[in-house]
């Protein structure tokens, strides 16, 4: 089911949590709302769910599959919501938790207890919790509780699945596993899914569409590749992955006209050479400060000359071994792909 939202504003007291959000989520996609804390992403998710309502405004509309649901409460929107801390009912077993939504239906819509039991078992199988039907939430691990919460949300045949920081409270290993599992799961049942995260890696790995929020506004919408490769603003480029920020703009690079912008270059777009191998415009003298040789890549901390602005390079371990760098060594760096931002959005992209 598709979701559209137009002109969504939300204020808490004098705090403006959302300042006019517009979005269009196509059917069956896995969408992530990504942003730092305080960006309004959870508020937006809760408004989509109907747990919170947008400020009164005649232009505000939230549409589920063509139907206006702006002021319809959560219970009547046919959504599945998974809370950050799962919010399982502690006085009920796993099976009772999952059955809750079904057993709450009005009498004429309620399935028989056999049908409920069948459905619950089906869901338990789907989320791979076989044999845990009669356990209580306090007897489950974090990852298991997360999956119970998911099964409970799916029991009512929701049209949309909404997840608030679904992996936030799990340890790194479980988080990775569950992430992959959710990706596959969503591909299998093809339910429109929106999840909130502050972890850019999670958003880029999992989502079909990434919606980036900052200070109550959407700053960019696009596929993971689009937002990573063509960031719309300095905020986006800084938020998505590591990036070097050189305030001198292109002044750092001799032979390029003076410019007032800020230069961004990702560490993996920086190459280190001992001598100038070819006369391009984007070669910059620098001095080696520190070498981190553990990890998948070799990381080198450098300082530009003569301005002495610090930045980092990420090169392969083989390359690092061949270069045989030492702190204090003077080298030349080549920027393969730089972005130059002026003000907040206008920018020049230079690739070599």
């Amino acid at each position: 089911m598709s979701i559209q939202a137009y002109n969504v504003y939300k204020t808490f007291g004098s705090y403006k949590a959302l300042k006019g959000v517009n979005l269009d989520i196509p059917e069956g996609k896995l969408v992530s709302l990504l942003g730092p804390s305080g960006s309004g992403k959870t508020t937006l998710l809760r408004i989509l769910a109907g747990l919170e309502f947008p400020d009164e405004n005649k232009n505000t509309q939230i549409i589920f599959h063509g139907e206006d649901v702006t002021y319809i409460p959560a219970g009547k929107r046919r959504i599945g919501f998974v809370f950050q801390h799962y919010a399982l009912f502690r006085n009920m077993t796993v099976a009772e938790n999952i059955a809750f939504g079904l057993s709450c239906k009005p009498k004429r819509e309620r399935p028989s207890s056999e049908e409920i039991r069948y459905k619950v078992n089906q869901l338990i199988e789907l989320v791979q919790l076989e044999g845990l039907n009669n356990r209580y939430p306090s007897e489950l691990s974090g990852g298991q509780q997360q999956r119970v919460a998911l099964a409970r949300a799916l029991a009512v045949n929701p049209r949309v699945l909404l997840l608030d920081e679904p992996f936030g409270a799990l340890d790194a290993k479980v988080r990775k596993e569950l992430r992959r599992w959710l990706r596959k799961f969503q591909e299998d049942i093809k339910i429109t899914t929106v999840f909130v995260t502050h972890d850019q890696e999670e958003a880029l790995e999992l989502a079909d569409v990434v919606i980036i929020l900052n200070k109550g506004e959407i700053v960019q919408i696009g596929s993971p590749q689009e937002v990573y490769d063509s960031p719309a603003s300095p905020f986006v480029i800084e938020f998505l992955g590591n990036v070097n920020k050189l305030k001198g703009g292109l002044n750092n690079i001799p032979n390029v006209i003076r410019n007032t912008g800020i230069l961004y270059v990702r560490p993996h777009d920086v190459d280190i050479q001992l001598q100038v191998e070819s006369e391009t415009d984007y070669v910059l003298p620098a001095i080696v400060r520190h070498i981190f040789s553990a990890g998948n890549y070799g990381r080198v901390a450098l300082e530009s000359l003569p301005q002495r602005e610090p930045f980092e390079a990420e090169i392969s371990r083989n390359r690092l071994r061949d270069l045989d760098l030492k702190p204090g060594l003077k080298v030349f760096v080549v920027f393969r792909h730089v972005r130059l931002f002026e003000n907040d959005s206008v920018y020049r992209e230079i690739k070599i």
């Binding site: 919501f81 919010a87 009912f89 502690r90 809750f100 356990r135 919460a149």
Partner: protein
């Protein structure tokens, strides 16, 4: 090699010693003298003292009405605690603080003012008497006094628990399509049950032992509106110390048993939340 366990926090032996001495001096020794003194009576006179018709009638009054009064408190105290912790309204702070009044008020003062209010010519009594409700010098009067003194126990036990409830759990219920009533009854109430039992037990214990406020409003008619604590005082006034302690013994044992049952219920209601297979 010393096998004495090292503790991270110092002072275990000291604080344990103080705790035990304190409990022994203030609770255990006084309570045990009740048994020791009454044992001087001999089995037969002991039995006669505790089963005389007047005493039996007082047990019924004390325990029966304490039970009803604390049940009433459990119900209305629950509502009061809910409103005070969930809603903010003008005068919230004022109402929140007057909940403690029955704690602070000398019981005799409470008894006198309740009697003045509920007697035939009192502010409230003048409306109740024509309806056939004898609100003073009757069992109803005792019930009013015991409800009054027990009220804060239920409210103050429940309030922090209600405030600590996870709102997400209620939202989860609502998002699954459950009505407000269903969310309350199936999710919220079970998690408040242990605290409700505790509040009930405290109010009940207080009601059993209450003396000051009751004697003014009860009328103290033997066989009808006499509470057990008053029976004990009467024995004492007649220098029948052993009979007094014998009745006290019975009260002690019954109270202990009732609190034990309530505790078991509370334990059971906690277990519902996190039972092991």
């Amino acid at each position: 090699m010393s096998n004495k366990r090292q503790r991270i926090l110092p002072g275990f032996h000291l604080t344990l010693g103080i705790c035990l001495t304190y409990l022994t001096l203030l609770v255990f020794i006084p309570l045990s003298t009740i048994f020791i003194r009454s044992s001087g009576l001999g089995w037969e006179s002991f039995w006669r003292a505790i089963t005389s018709p007047q005493v039996i009638a007082s047990y019924k009054v004390t325990f029966g009405i304490s039970f009803l009064a604390s049940l009433t408190n459990a119900f209305f105290g629950f509502i009061a605690a809910w409103v005070l912790s969930r809603y903010r309204f003008p005068g919230h702070g004022f109402f929140d603080s007057i909940v403690d009044l029955p704690f602070a008020l000398p019981t005799a003062v409470a008894g006198i003012s309740l009697t003045a209010l509920y007697s035939q010519n009192g502010w409230i009594g003048q409306f109740l008497y024509p309806l056939g409700i004898k609100s003073a010098y009757s069992l109803i009067g005792i019930y009013i006094a015991l409800t009054f003194v027990g009220f804060p126990f239920v409210v103050r036990t429940l309030q922090p628990v209600i405030e600590g409830l996870d709102r997400e759990i209620e939202e989860a219920g609502a998002s699954l399509g459950a009505s407000r009533w269903k969310v309350f009854w199936k999710i919220v109430f079970p998690s408040l049950l242990p605290a409700l039992f505790t509040g009930y037990a405290l109010a009940f214990a207080r009601a059993i032992g209450e003396y000051g406020s009751v004697i003014f409003i009860s009328g103290n008619m033997p066989m009808r509106t006499e509470i057990t604590p008053l029976v004990i005082v009467k024995f004492l006034e007649n220098y029948q110390y052993q009979q007094a302690t014998a009745v006290a013994c019975v009260m002690l044992v019954i109270s202990f048993l009732i609190l034990l049952i309530i505790n078991a219920l509370q334990h059971w209601s906690v277990l519902i939340g996190q039972a092991k297979n």
